[in-house]
Symmetry: C2
Subunit: 246 residues, 2 copies
């Protein structure tokens, strides 16, 4: 007799409306690209005020289920973009005081198998994208800003080669969290760039040769290098990651 009654909770109308529309999107009654009726019409159909509909739309919008296509007024149904979803995850992790160590450890676990899987599933097109990303990093000696981004892009291109959306999406928040610390590291550790270039080349070659073992081990080495770089740069691994306003 711990608790006799369940807590009774009222759901405000705006959430019911959001759930109703969201449900239709999830079950594909509303398909991607379909345009939602105007707000006044929705208000009429649901029998609520337009303000209520608008609150519901904001909820759907920030869930990425609907968005306004550029230069159009009507909301249209969209599949949430990977980047946006991962952004929410990233925010969540930041709020939970995630540390560099946790991110690095997750990369250690996740990236080598991803590389291995990519070695199996990659197509010629994937390979082109991957090598292009590696070459861009190698040739672009410009701002560290760009270098950090370029490194993350390499991981993304490898992830894409797995043709597995779940993996790509699992990987994305890690990359978003990695980038800021990478900026500091690349700046403070002179040999970082060349080591990254080497690792990227080795991984690319392994993927080219469909060498699963090579891809996995070089990727593992690549990630281990990051840690060394962090230590050399004097970045405290237990430090909480902050976000630098994007």
């Amino acid at each position: 007799m711990n608790r006799q009654f369940d807590q009774i909770q009222m759901e405000p109308a705006y959430r019911k409306v959001a759930a109703a529309i969201g449900g239709r999107i999830l079950d594909r009654t509303l398909r991607e690209g379909d345009r939602l009726p105007p707000e006044t019409e929705l208000a009429r159909q649901f029998g609520v005020n337009r303000s209520t509909v608008r609150e519901a739309l904001r909820e759907l919008e920030s869930n990425g289920l609907v968005m306004r296509r550029a230069g159009s007024k009507l909301m249209s149904v969209t599949r949430p973009q990977h980047f946006a979803i991962a952004g929410a995850v990233t925010r969540g992790l930041v709020m939970h005081d995630v540390t560099f160590r946790e991110v690095w450890e997750a990369l250690t676990l996740l990236e080598p198998p991803i590389a291995e899987s990519a070695a199996r599933a990659r197509t010629a097109d994937d390979l082109a994208v991957i090598t292009a990303a590696a070459e861009r990093f190698a040739s672009d000696n410009a701002a560290t800003e760009k270098a950090a981004h370029g490194s993350a892009e390499f991981f993304r291109s490898v992830g894409a080669a797995t043709h597995n959306q779940v993996l790509m999406l699992a990987q994305e928040p890690l990359l978003q969290l990695l980038e800021p610390s990478l900026r500091v590291m690349i700046d403070d550790v002179p040999q970082a760039r060349s080591r990254i270039i080497t690792a990227q080349r080795k991984v690319s070659e392994a993927l080219h040769a469909r060498d699963t073992d090579g891809a996995r081990t070089w990727m593992a080495k690549h990630i281990r290098d990051f840690r060394k770089g962090f230590e050399i740069a004097g970045i405290d691994l237990e430090h909480r990651i902050r976000v630098g306003e994007s």
Copy 2:
């Protein structure tokens, strides 16, 4: 001269307000548990109408950055709950027509290293939770509903033992997507339960002994078993996962 001008984009006021409040939360000016001022006060401070503030609040709310504590009117700042964040990811993946195969493959890559890491990092408390989850699954021969949930709970408890929030959060969407198919599988494959029980026990024992290899390999076996189960149950691995309205 591909494009001379960047697209100029207007940001509506409700999004600016949301960004302003959200920024304060992310940079910890507003801490968890802090209560937001009432809507009228926010409207006054930002110089906008209360309706506009409300739309902004809906956005923050569905991002999990603020919520109303039970039986309170004022919004308070919260860290997004893992389950909620993962829910958004799950929705996103469903919208992207993710297949059973992709989920299973991701589990294959992710779970064994998680088990290995758990074998290293687990505390006595973690172990208690894990074995409790395993025992609950073994003794609870009730509805398949519960069994599927119990299996997912086992993975969660192992994930928690890594003490790595990034891993837990990466794992969560997989479990949410796994559950529905697990329900079907456990129903249709008679030997599924006993095989799951065995695998859970073996993994638990390995974690107990801090046997990293054992934990990894048994977890890998556990996941491979799922695939066999799916095949026996005649579940098409390439089938898109749908969500059964929660």
